[in-house]
Subunit: 344 residues, 4 copies
């Protein structure tokens, strides 16, 4: 069975493993105070052109979302999110477990707009009895989204402007950020994202690392106490060096961007193959996840050899499914899949 | 600088790294549903002679303590703990962050007794206005303790009996469990611990792994929903295989016990060297942490070459410090330290 | 200005005030352990024909919803609620503040159906990766609903059956329960509600009392620890006698039901008056809240003399508003309103 | 049985009841937006000479402590409190339920000192691994304390200075504030308390009201969002007018101070009577609670006619008990008690 169902199926990029082995016997102080973490933080600041930013290396995405949001909100505030946002759907109430409601905005392709946010804020502020409802305290979005789509520079600037005018911090979940940055059609740089967001993170787990997410806090208002919150939430890895080594390797010479690029190219090949056979896509994804709408007969056939993710039923005879590539996807496996699609 | 200040200074046992490399290209489903996790769980059940136990592989200790305790307690209940317990002191309020008070019992060496627990329960139950105070809902202890001491079989049986009679689950933090099991003077087996506790965990981070703690739930009452809680608390590692591979390696042929044994032997050599020079120990530790009371002059001398942990001041001229060995401690480094102590 | 905008505009029924004055100098133990609370609890058990039920007297609705739900759910569970449910909309995230997500079901008139609940449970149970989502742990509904509508006996029986088969406790918010019980067209008795719910409450604040909600726990599984939770949530009134006196007065000779009946009759008179003039109702309310759809001209006219609640805009020229009666509504004020509607 | 066991045994001052009756039929908007609340807030600002302060009227003490503390702290912070503080002992973990640890300081008479607080802050700040422990985020104390003792002006000024220098807000629990202000030997005015604290409250439940605590927020930094937090915690009384009427009555002409004065005088008479018979006091209380150390024979005798509170056992033959007076204590009952003490 060849897996195209998710982007965390393999281990890590060989260069990362190599570095972990080489440094295994070294003795380091714990909890991210070692030299590898220091250098990784520096490299990430440089990649973002944000020398004053705080960078924290965490283990996983849910943990990261939870800690960032709990760090920013006051108890009576909630976080605005697309209804398809990871925090709204797939984190087992991790945000609510910190005491905060996720305030969802409707979305057809995983994205929300500046005017939706503005409208929500206005609605709340103009409601005479608004103390009976949760106050919006920040905005969460994913780049790329859970549907593979991606915010354009204009869209993100508009969102950032609305947020700043309203005093609502903007937090960007970048669990798959590499794949958005590497996509054809993307017009947003890492530096611009760092400028437009107050806090965001650069995902490692799905882009070359064994695990790891690098939080970048560019707004000084949200820096204080963050390490306490990491510890309190069980996110302060004893052998923090492991995170330092991984992000150092990913960012010292652009490896993060290179491996992302390849994954996206494979994803487009798969998309084009399906489209060439007349199958439409559910979302206009430009990144490593593609969502063809396929008839049951095709699904039955492909599933004999490939694993992919069921997304949703369209009608009795059709479903949306997800095909996912990653930094580890092998060219020969993609070639085989393309051939099989072509023969459908 | 040779580090004896903590037991998470190095990476992982080479056999673990080897297995991670060998399996790196394999494609697996995520979140601990792979074959390595399955086998690790089986090996741990076998090591505990607890075929019906649920085994969950988590990343770190604070996370594990938090999840287990939150899973067991109802909102109005607290957890009884020695005042020196890790959850009471060094987890940045992780337990309180889940809504629960840590109810501390005084302790001189990190241990609590069955009669202390019984007395606390009786005091609460006999208090006519007890609804104004937190109800004790479970008991937490560490084996070995944060002071290196260890519960005997008789002590743990007495505690377990008190807990069961009172209907309070007993949870054992085994972040350094290997070092207690391997200690001369220990009379408790892993199987007995599994029988006496309702939930406990076997620490990997400090005993050979890059990271990882294996929770063993022997009381069926506390099994339901545990994986939801892991996810909600950001503890469900996407590439769960990493935990499976590590615990499989540690438990397939007794590696966990072998490397623990060596660490404890080194610790005893250090203890004996200090005692031979007339320095007393603060705690009667039989495990990998030793706590000599040393004059400032000695501390100044040793600190030129070795790192160790300041524990507490005794008087103007003396302090307690901690020397820690681990599975990774090198024989030549110990020999050098012994020689230097000898020459004091 | 005559108020028809809400049902907590006045103080308490005169008989309640009279009893508070008469007993003012008596000395009582605090926190609900006095004789008035004892008798109130007994009278409520009798009114419910539930001699084994636990009855707790709390101060307000949000507090009550929060305590009941926190008492029942485990950390990874959420509460199913109509999207218009009070806990989902108007409690400033009180439920989320206890760590739990409110899982909303769509509703057009404030009610949910047994099949909606069944479908949600099935969807969750059949989802292979359900540990990534919040587990439904109980069902919340209001009788009458926030839209004035009311569950029939058949509807509530069906819901209760689905809940019991699935092991999900059913909690009924009865902040305005009196008005549902007293409504023409209602076919559910208090006794039946006590049988079909696991926990419910009888609202006093909106039905004759200064404040107070009587929680009735009929399912023995949810009795333990409840007083601890009341205290922890700041709901244990020091002078608990005040709650006892109020519910004793309301339930010793049917006062609760009598004053509810009158309020509902006034509400129907208002509804009929609007309908006679050709104005439609937004919801088919049979209780003390009525929701006419009115043109702006009418709203402007009525608002010179009456206060009522804006509910939602229908189009440029029409809005839904709420007219509310209560146990304290005066016949002469209703007569005046009816006359004014008639003259529109 | 004559009650001297607590200070919430009776209802409310007759003038309060009178006003509640007179206004019962008036129609008001809910949730504290009525004219009585407005005037009560104004009168309290005036009594504190703090025209810019925010005043909020809440129902009870635990609720108030919980809301104030949750409003101020960030998630990784705890509240410093005397170990005998109400929040540390008698609120069923209400503070922990909001996610925060209560950091206790030892105390012999219920009071803490400026130097204790300074030392704790220094200890935390100087600890290199302080992110593993809870950060002190504010200071809580009670005036008068749970032991009836009272901070002098010099003591409170010193505490306030330490807190301000360290950036830690000072919160004063004034559940019995009237009795401290009225005590012989007190040298602190309400105005000074308002200046030295960042937030404090004036207790009504134990000083003349049916219920009610008036929170005064003098530090502008802690004003925002407070009403949201009241609502979220179930503390926003629907018929808020009841709180307004009570505090208006207590503060419009000094009633609050007059009734406090009488209660303290009675308490001193009881203290003097015990001391005249040679019985020592456990605490040097100057307020309405007195704590004589009495032999069992005396306790047995007095308990036939009076109720008082067992505090703690001193030895086999002696215990500390609490005698409490209040605004409602009757002169004839005190006379009877004095006579009986005298005859011992």
């Amino acid at each position: 069975m060849l897996r195209f169902d998710h982007d965390y199926a393999e281990g890590a990029h060989p260069r990362i493993l190599q570095r972990i082995i080489e440094t295994n016997d070294e003795q380091h102080p714990g909890y991210g105070t070692d030299q590898y973490c220091d250098r990784a933080r520096l490299l990430i600041q440089q990649a973002c052109n944000a020398p004053g930013a705080d960078v924290h290396l965490l283990v996983g995405g849910t943990q990261t979302n939870k800690i960032v949001i709990a760090s920013i909100l006051r108890p009576h505030q909630g976080v605005l999110s697309p209804e398809s946002g990871h925090i709204a759907v797939h984190e087992t109430g991790a945000i609510e477990a910190t005491g905060h409601k996720v305030l969802t905005l409707p979305s057809k392709d995983g994205k929300i707009t500046a005017s939706q946010v503005q409208q929500y804020i206005d609605g709340h502020n103009q409601d005479a009895s608004n103390v009976h409802t949760v106050q919006p305290g920040m905005v969460y979005l994913s780049q790329p989204t859970e549907n593979g789509t991606s915010y354009s520079k204009a869209e993100l600037e508009a969102l950032s402007t609305v947020c700043r005018n309203a005093g609502l911090p903007l937090f960007i979940d970048g669990a798959r950020l590499g794949y958005a940055l590497a996509a054809d059609g993307n017009d947003l740089t890492l530096e611009e994202i760092a400028k437009l967001a107050d806090v965001f993170y650069i995902g490692g787990t799905k882009v070359g690392a064994l695990f790891g997410e690098a939080v970048v806090i560019t707004n000084p208002q949200f820096k204080s106490g963050f390490r306490y919150l990491i510890k309190q939430n069980g996110g302060l890895l004893a052998k923090g060096r492991l995170l330092g080594i991984q992000f150092e390797t990913l960012f010292e010479d652009g490896l993060y961007f290179d491996i992302s690029k390849q994954a996206v190219e494979f994803a487009w090949q798969i998309r084009h193959a399906f489209e060439a056979k007349g199958f439409a896509m559910k979302f206009d994804s430009i990144t490593n996840q593609q969502f063809p709408i396929l008839p049951n007969t095709v699904l039955a056939k492909l599933s004999q050899k490939y694993s992919f993710t069921f997304w949703e039923k369209v009608d009795e005879n059709h479903s949306v499914v997800r095909f996912c590539t990653s930094w580890a996807t092998k060219a020969e496996n993609v070639a085989e899949l393309l051939e099989d699609i072509n023969q459908l």
